[in-house]
């Protein structure tokens, strides 16, 4: 982990770098001896602590994109609602979008605060079996900006995974910000000793999106994160008046379907644009409960079923043999 301590000088090479403690910039840094001794290049003990914590979490799903604004948070929230509609399942949603935490609003939890107990941070409960954690709960005002560089964001993510008292969970869903940077590397690294079932990749149909999403897919392949499948969101709009379909975000290069064919991935489904989805999110309600008979809700349910089936069937040999 290329951590840069808060008291490091400019041009700090990072505590995990080969040059840690040895560059000219390191002269005079209070951490110089520690870095040059090699102690900082040892694996972060938090990784094992997190793995320990995650033993009570049966399935972990990351929701990724690469492209912003395609509906990751919307999808994560509704995946959580859908899985939690089975009262026998314990579900949690972790929002690691540090700069733009949308999950509190989408889950109707704006203004809620996190409490600390003896066993760690308590997540905020939407239902008895649906817990949520987001940096949004640590901010006191909707205008507060989290202007943090990478290393500080990584620290927050570590705390979310290690110090939140999740309890026993059937599903932990992790909503991520767009990109392939600190947050994504950190989530994968901190969960490296705990098994992640896989990633659900969200895209919209147009090439401008797919261009970024292919990079995210490459990232997953690079860090050996299995991909459960791809969801194509905002897939066409049916005019409520004349019922004609418009491709507002046109699939000029074949959309997610062709990308999945080319990259040998599963297309989990397509969700159409529906103004009531955005409205539900703004109001903190579940679209699945508000508009249960819509084509979009049907699409969501089908996608969720595929994800559940994947999680239940992809259990590693050690677990299924034991």
């Amino acid at each position: 982990m290329a951590d840069i301590p808060s008291d490091a000088p400019q041009h700090c090479p990072g505590t995990a770098s080969e040059q840690a403690g040895k560059t000219s910039a390191c002269q005079g840094c209070p951490n110089q001896n520690l870095c040059s001794s090699g102690a900082t290049k040892a694996p972060d003990p938090a990784i094992e602590e997190i793995a320990e914590k995650m033993l009570t979490v049966k399935h972990k799903i990351l929701v990724l994109s690469g492209k912003g604004g395609v509906g990751k948070s919307t999808f994560s929230a509704h995946l959580a609602h859908a899985l939690a509609s089975d009262a026998t399942k314990e579900v949690a949603l972790l929002d690691v979008d540090i700069c733009g935490p949308s999950i509190p609003r989408i889950m109707g939890l704006e203004g809620e605060q996190v409490h600390q107990s003896g066993s760690g941070w308590s997540p905020v409960y939407v239902e008895d079996n649906l817990a949520v954690m987001s940096i949004g709960f640590l901010l006191s005002s909707p205008d507060d900006a989290v202007i943090w560089r990478g290393p500080k964001k990584n620290g927050m993510i570590k705390q979310f995974l290690r110090d939140v008292d999740w309890g026993e969970l059937d599903y932990l869903i992790v909503d991520t910000p767009p990109g392939t940077s600190d947050e994504h590397l950190s989530i994968v690294q901190y969960l490296s000793s705990a098994r992640i079932d896989g990633a659900v990749i969200i895209t919209t149909p147009q090439e401008v999106s797919l261009q970024d999403v292919r990079k995210e897919i490459r990232f997953c392949q690079k860090v050996q994160l299995p991909i459960i499948g791809v969801v194509e969101n905002m897939s066409g709009f049916v005019c409520p008046k004349c019922k004609n379909t418009s491709q507002i975000f046109p699939p000029t290069t074949g959309g997610a379907e062709r990308m999945c064919e080319e990259m040998n991935l599963t297309l989990l489904g397509r969700v159409p644009l529906d103004p009531r989805i955005g409205k539900s999110c703004d109001e903190g309600k579940s679209f699945l409960t508000e508009v249960p008979d819509s084509p979009a809700a049907a699409a969501y349910h089908s996608i969720v079923q595929s994800i559940q089936a994947y999680c239940l069937s992809h259990v590693p040999r050690e677990e299924s043999a034991g």
Binding site: I4, G66, C99, G100, D143, I248
Partner: protein, 273 residues
Amino acid sequence: VERWVMMLQGGNLAQVQHVVLILSGKGGVGKSTLTTELALALRHSGKKVGILDVDLCGPSIPRMLSVGKPEVHQCDLGWVPVYTDAQKSLALMSIGFLLEDPDEAVVWRGPKKTALIGQFVSDVAWGELDVLLVDTPPGTSDEHLAVLENLKKQHKVDGAILITTPQAVSTGDVRREITFCKKTGLRILGIVENMSGFVCPHCSECSNIFSKGGGEELAKLTGSVYLGSVPLDPLLTTSIEEGKDFIQTFPDSATFSAINSIAQTLLTSIQNP
């Protein structure tokens, strides 16, 4: 000799009259699309424009301007930007140009991104420009701090335009971006509401797919200038996809009219601070 004197005294931004950041906080609201369209609109009105794309993870501008994968050269003053036309009226620099493989992910942590952005800001030989637009990724993190710090070193930033879509989930993030601007002393030139309603091409019914009114409310709430709204237009999204000049193809559209009005207001604002 004059070039060297200028470079030593003022750096590569010395002959750039105005620098405007395009920010959001929220992803997918149309920062890159509007950066491209505003650049084209300004060029259309006779200005020399540059675009600096500092979205390292998702650089969209090269495709939107149909420049493909050109080779980027160095001259004695630094990197030569890519020009979209022979008249050199629109220049572009993006990390997209430096990647061997367009599908290759730039998986960098903050410090490395900060270092490259520093280079982008000071080492591109822009030459004479009326306006340099800087497209950013969503958020309030390394990229934003890096671009701002480096621009300030050269005393060169007029301010920022913030893009939002109408719904609360978007304005919620943009409020935080506004705080970022206030905290860093970055002048807010105004707020643009994108994806502001969809007019069905079949029956002309207007649907507020991403809700309504949020941009204007946000401007009022935060005491910022409301620059205007741009509708959801499949002709625009298709044009952007194909890297075409929307302004040349659809000069009479309501969408172009909206974009042009915003471009002119922006120009007035930066020319008369």
